[in-house]
Structures are given as structure tokens and as C-alpha cells.
């Protein structure tokens, strides 16, 4: 390899490195992939929690357990009922809205996944 070839390769390599850095900057910061048409599973945690509360509340109106289960499966296809129980228990710990907890408890019970913590809420806010 002669000196000129080495020089050419060195320049090309420098250019490539600069190009890569530019590519990372553009692709991750300046012009990242724009997501639309997302699924509920990628919602931020507070939206996910609210989604579960809304499913439990809507279940009171619609009384459609399968519909509620299908909606929960969008968040966790394997154990949809666990989400309800977990959220209810988190809300109990955090002193959340008693009506929300009661709704979650009733949905959890309907899904066959209630726990002793939720039992007092089954008849409404204790």
C-alpha cells in the first residue's frame, strides 16, 4: 500500500466517522422516527393506570367482562387480570380514590383474580 492510498483511506475514514456521528445526531435527536398508530401497551405509566381505571369503570356501565378482558390484554396478553389487582393494590397503598379502587376490585373479582386486600372494597369503598 503506497502513501497516497493510505492518505486516501485515512481521509475516507475520517469522513465516514463524521458521517456516522451526523447520522446518529439526525436519526436520534434531530429527526427521529415518528411513531403514530401505537398500541396502549406503550402508553406512559400514568396513562396506562388511567386506562385500567377506565376499563374498570366502563365495565360497570357496559357489564361486558369479555370486552374488559380484551382491553386489558392490550396491556398484558398473558395475565390481564393481574394488572387490575396490581393497580388496585398500588392505589390502596398510595391512598388513591376509594371509588376507583372499588371499581378495580369488582373487575378483579369478576376476572377471578381478587386478593384479600381487595375484598373490603367489593361492596364499594370501605
Amino acid at each position: 500500500m503506497n502513501k497516497r492510498t493510505k492518505q486516501w483511506l485515512l481521509r475516507a475514514a475520517v469522513g465516514a466517522v463524521v458521517g456516522l456521528v451526523l447520522g446518529f445526531i439526525i436519526g436520534w435527536w434531530l429527526w427521529p422516527v415518528q411513531y403514530t398508530n401505537t398500541a396502549p401497551v406503550v402508553l406512559r405509566q400514568d396513562y396506562r393506570d388511567d386506562y385500567i381505571v377506565m376499563i374498570a369503570t366502563a365495565y360497570e356501565v357496559e357489564e361486558d367482562l369479555e370486552q374488559a378482558r380484551e382491553r386489558l390484554k392490550l396491556l398484558d396478553p398473558r395475565e390481564p387480570a393481574t394488572l387490575v389487582v396490581e393497580l388496585a393494590e398500588r392505589l390502596i397503598e398510595a391512598g388513591g380514590d376509594a371509588d376507583d379502587i372499588a371499581r378495580l376490585a369488582r373487575l378483579a373479582w369478576a376476572l377471578g383474580a381478587t386478593t384479600s386486600t381487595l375484598i373490603p372494597y367489593l361492596e364499594g369503598p370501605p
Partner: protein, 304 residues
């Protein structure tokens, strides 16, 4: 010269290759991770379901601020589309009036309108089915002064026109217009159509394969179907409600109910009051020998 330009081109070639590799990596191989998104980014069907859930939650908890917060950030067209679909679905399914009133209240607050909402909109007084211009005479105090040393205003009854409550903007009924000036004509009271309805026709429908039901058709003086009439079907221990015109394929004045044999039904219109039909029962149709027994539905035509 050729060597010089080749050396100058080297970094540009490298840059292009590096840029291509960098973009391929950041856009395809390892794009920005999709976490912590928000409802507005959901796919359309999920977005509409979000709106539906928020609306149904409002029905359950009546918390308008919470409903607004949940729908905040979503496009109005999504909210409107989903709300309309929900209200129309619930109306067609004959859901309870309370649920539909709440949905309608929310829809109104969100500036969403659909004809199916009409019958649930709360107005100060129930608007008449057929708008009748009935100007009311209201005495007002007008100071009449005569040039005397003691000028005291005396009350004089001056007829002024008070227009009836303005129908909702989406009412299909024509808005009566009243000239604000001029001598008012004596009102010609016309009873609303609702109060004049009676059973014009009642026939048993015997069609094999059809679900047993009670269908009601409301017609006006000219025989045209009247939409928006609230019909109640009551029976011992229960009641169902339907509104005419929500199944336009059957005509503007049509509404129907599911029915079961062995139950005695009563049919009323408007608010639950004096029923127009009582003791209505699903009965077997007359069949020829060898034919399968068939339960008949009822078709009831109401008119003035």
C-alpha cells in the same frame, strides 16, 4: 491533478457512507424506543376506544373535569367521531335514558352533536313534537304620563310577544319565527301530536325466522312517519324504551322492542303515563296442520 481530486473526494465519500450507515442504524436498527407515549399517538381504533372509555367513565362517575382531562390532547374529530358512534350505538341498543342523558351531557360539553342526542337534551320545557307558534301575551309596565303637575307612571298592559324557548340548534323541527312588532294574532291552540296519538292499527306479524318483537310506527296527520317519539314498553317488573327514527331503513316513525311470550306488555308514549295499549301478549300464529308452531310479533301503528 487526478490524484489531488481523488484525495479531496475521499472524505466526501467517507462522509456519505458514514451518514448512510448512521441513519440506517438510528432509523432502522435501533430507532428511538417507543415508550411513554400518550393517547393522541394511539392507533385510530385505540384512540376511539380511549374516548369511549372516558365517556363511559363519565357516565359512571359524573366527573366532567376528569373526562375533559382524559380527552385533553386528542383531536376534536376523534372525540366527536367516537362520541357520536357511542351515542348512536347506545341509542340503537335501547340503553337506559339515564346513561344516554349523561353521554349527551358530555357530548354537549365537548361540542359534539348528533341527531341521536336530540331526545335526551334537557330543555327547560319539553318542546312540542309539532312546533306550534303560540305567542304569549305578557303585560309590561309602561309609564304613561300626562302633562299634569303630578306626573306619576301608571301601569298599562301592553301586549308584547314572548317567543317560546328556542329549540336546540340541531332540532330537525322548524323554528317558529315571530315578528317582534305588530298586533299579535289570537293564538290558535293545537294540541301536540303526542297527546293526540292513538292506536290506528294493530296487527300480528307471522314471518318464519324473524325474531319475536313489537314494532311501533308513529305517523302524523298526513300519514308520514314521525321521528323522535319516545316509546315505552312496560311489563310487570320491567320497562324498555325506544325512540322512533333510529332505524331509518324501516322508516322515520319506526321503533321496535324485543318481546317474549308469556309477558303482558303495555305501550306508552312520551313520559310514562297512560298506556295506549295494555295486555299486549306474544301469541302463537295460526298455522296449518303439519306446520311448525310460530310465535307472532306485533305491529302497532299510532296516529292522530
Amino acid at each position: 491533478m487526478s490524484t489531488l481530486s481523488s484525495l479531496r473526494a475521499a472524505p466526501i465519500i467517507g462522509l456519505v457512507i458514514g451518514l448512510a450507515l448512521g441513519l440506517a442504524y438510528t432509523w432502522v436498527i435501533a430507532p428511538v424506543e417507543l415508550v411513554n407515549t400518550y393517547p393522541a399517538l394511539l392507533r385510530t381504533d385505540y384512540r376511539w376506544d380511549w374516548v369511549r372509555l372516558a365517556a363511559l367513565s363519565y357516565v359512571a362517575d359524573g366527573d366532567m373535569e376528569r373526562a375533559r382531562a382524559r380527552l385533553n390532547g386528542l383531536k376534536h374529530e376523534d372525540v366527536a367521531g367516537a362520541m357520536r358512534a357511542l351515542i348512536e350505538e347506545y341509542t340503537a341498543a335501547g340503553r337506559s335514558a339515564d346513561i344516554l342523558r349523561r353521554l349527551t351531557t358530555l357530548a354537549e360539553a365537548l361540542d359534539v352533536h348528533t341527531p341521536a342526542m336530540l331526545v335526551y337534551l334537557r330543555t327547560p320545557t319539553s318542546p312540542p313534537l309539532v312546533p306550534v307558534s303560540t305567542p304569549s301575551l305578557t303585560p309590561t309596565l309602561t309609564p304613561s304620563c300626562t302633562p299634569t303637575p303630578s306626573c306619576t307612571p301608571s301601569p298599562t298592559a301592553t301586549p308584547t310577544l314572548t317567543p317560546p324557548p328556542t329549540p336546540h340548534a340541531f332540532s330537525p323541527l322548524s323554528t317558529p319565527t315571530i315578528e317582534p312588532t305588530g298586533t299579535p294574532l289570537p293564538p290558535t291552540p293545537t294540541p301536540p301530536l303526542l297527546s293526540r296519538l292513538r292506536v290506528v292499527e294493530q296487527e300480528q306479524i307471522c314471518e318464519p325466522g324473524q325474531r319475536v318483537h313489537i314494532e311501533v310506527v308513529v305517523r302524523d296527520e298526513r300519514g308520514a312517519g314521525v321521528a323522535g317519539v319516545e316509546i315505552w314498553l312496560t311489563w310487570p317488573g320491567g320497562a324498555d324504551r325506544a325512540v322512533t327514527g333510529l332505524k331509518p331503513q324501516h322508516g322515520a316513525g319506526y321503533a321496535d322492542f324485543n318481546a317474549e311470550p308469556g309477558v303482558s306488555y303495555a305501550l306508552s308514549i312520551g313520559e310514562l303515563g297512560m298506556p295506549l295499549v295494555t295486555g299486549l301478549r306474544i301469541e302463537p300464529c295460526p298455522v296449518e296442520e303439519g306446520e311448525n308452531p310460530l310465535m307472532g310479533s306485533w305491529r302497532i301503528v299510532l296516529g292522530p
